[in-house]
């Protein structure tokens, strides 16, 4: 282990940080999904050996290259015993942050060649392999995407198609015959193809099944006025509470939805999202209270009637 302790960087060392950042940013700025890649590529063979060695296992002889994460899962499912499923290990491209840091330490000679050797094996593979599914008898490696679309903050994002495009894609396991060309992402939130390419086809039931971030993404993609129309809901009350906008929407079938403005987020935005509230809620204040009104000592959630009778709520910190 090196005993070098740096207390400040020289100008040359500082300049090298930009070099390292630029090197690894190329992974997303110039996707390499089109490059030729074979299972006998020395960088592939060496990283497989290293990863299995770290798990005290012998590397399998069977190494396969596939075009997408979905293809890796499908292949793994065919190889595994019935009842078992696999998911990507999140290795390789997910390691880029610490690999870049160690690469920099090696460049400024804090790490020796021998200390950096194993990390360098991963570094070389990072520029060829995106992810992997590692089985006892087969290593399935996913090549890089061919396109990566990002927003101004560098998050995966595309408003009219997949944000991440693979060289080829395969069917959804539960939707035979439907081939999805890539991964759909809205400002860093993973969504599905329907939300991005056909938001007008989303039903109230499908909307209700989305998580909070996906609901937010859908509203931004489709427009909140359209969301209200889709829910067949009209605003019955609007209010500004603690500087944030709220709107209670009521549908003809009795459903109630609360549209809420977020406090300022890390990226400076203040998005809205719409969540379903109880059908007996009548006011914005009641809906706002109903979301949080839980007594942890008694393990008791307030009823809608209690929330309407006493809608008072003091929010200290709100982020």
């Amino acid at each position: 282990m090196s005993n070098t302790i740096l207390t400040e960087l020289t100008q040359k060392q500082e300049a090298l940080t930009d070099v390292v950042v630029k090197k690894y940013m190329e992974i997303v700025e110039k996707p390499r999904g089109g490059m030729e890649l074979t299972a006998d590529d020395p960088d592939i063979v060496n990283v497989v050996k290293l990863i299995y060695r770290c798990c005290d296992k012998a590397a399998p002889k069977d190494i396969r290259i596939v075009d997408s994460i979905r293809a890796a899962n499908r292949l793994a499912d065919t190889l595994l015993d019935p009842g078992y499923t696999a998911s990507p290990n999140g290795c390789l491209v997910a390691e880029v942050a610490w690999v870049a840091r160690y690469d920099y330490y090696h460049l400024i000679q804090v790490l020796s060649d021998s200390e950096y050797a194993d990390t360098q094996t991963i570094e070389r593979a990072l520029f060829k392999v995106w992810d992997c599914v590692l089985l006892d008898e087969c290593a399935i490696l996913v090549r890089h995407p061919t396109e990566i679309h990002r927003d101004e903050q560098g998050r995966p994002h595309r408003k009219d198609g997949p944000a991440i495009v693979w060289k080829s894609c395969c069917e959804y396991k539960d939707r035979p015959g439907v081939v999805i060309p890539g991964e759909y992402v809205w400002h860093g939130v993973i969504v599905n193809q329907q939300i991005i390419e056909a938001p007008e086809t989303v039903t109230p039931e499908q909307y209700a099944a989305l998580n909070a971030d996906q609901k937010r993404a859908f509203g931004e993609r489709f427009g909140w006025a359209n969301v209200a129309d889709m829910l067949k809901a009209k605003a019955v009350e609007s209010a500004v509470i603690d500087g944030l906008e709220y709107e209670l929407l009521a549908a003809d079938n009795g459903e109630r939805w609360l549209k809420m403005q977020s406090p300022i987020l890390k990226d400076g935005s203040q998005p809205y999202h719409v969540e379903k509230t109880h059908e007996d809620i009548r006011t914005v204040a009641g809906a706002r209270k109903w979301r949080v009104a839980y007594d942890p000592i008694r393990d008791y959630w307030w009823t809608p009637e209690e929330c309407e009778e006493d809608p008072s709520l003091v929010v200290g910190q709100h982020a």
Binding site: G188, E205, A208, N211, A212, D213, E255, R256, P263, I264, L265, K266, D267, E275, K276, T277, H278, E279, K289, W290, R291, V292, A293, Y294, P296, I297, D299, W301, S312, L313, V314, V315, G316, Q317, H318, A319
Partner: protein, 99 residues
């Protein structure tokens, strides 16, 4: 009712303390929601007990609750608290807001 809100997580202060009989365990950097997607994490060492879909938390020294992607930090002061997901209406029943 007074609460702090961190995304879809509600944190109730417990001025009367965590009920007796609840066994608390030590933990560090505990994730209280969004473990598989975008975690809300209470930083530092605390004592906790998982109950009723949430967490009783004893904070020995003021710390922060942070979020991996979207939400700014909030402060969790020294004392006892309960953290849980907010609720929304599902298909005819209440459910925790999915992070």
């Amino acid at each position: 009712m007074r609460v702090d809100l961190h995304g879809d997580i509600t944190i109730h202060p417990l001025p009367g303390g965590i009920p007796a009989g609840i066994e608390l365990k030590p933990a560090r950097d505990i994730v209280i929601a969004g473990a598989k997607s975008s975690p809300h994490t209470i930083r530092g060492e605390i004592l906790f007990a998982e109950r009723n879909g949430g967490f009783f938390v004893r904070v020995m020294k003021s710390t922060s609750v942070d979020h991996s992607t979207r939400h700014n930090d909030i402060i969790l002061t020294k004392g006892d608290h309960f953290a849980h997901p907010q609720r929304e209406r599902g298909d005819g029943q209440d459910q925790a807001v999915a992070d």
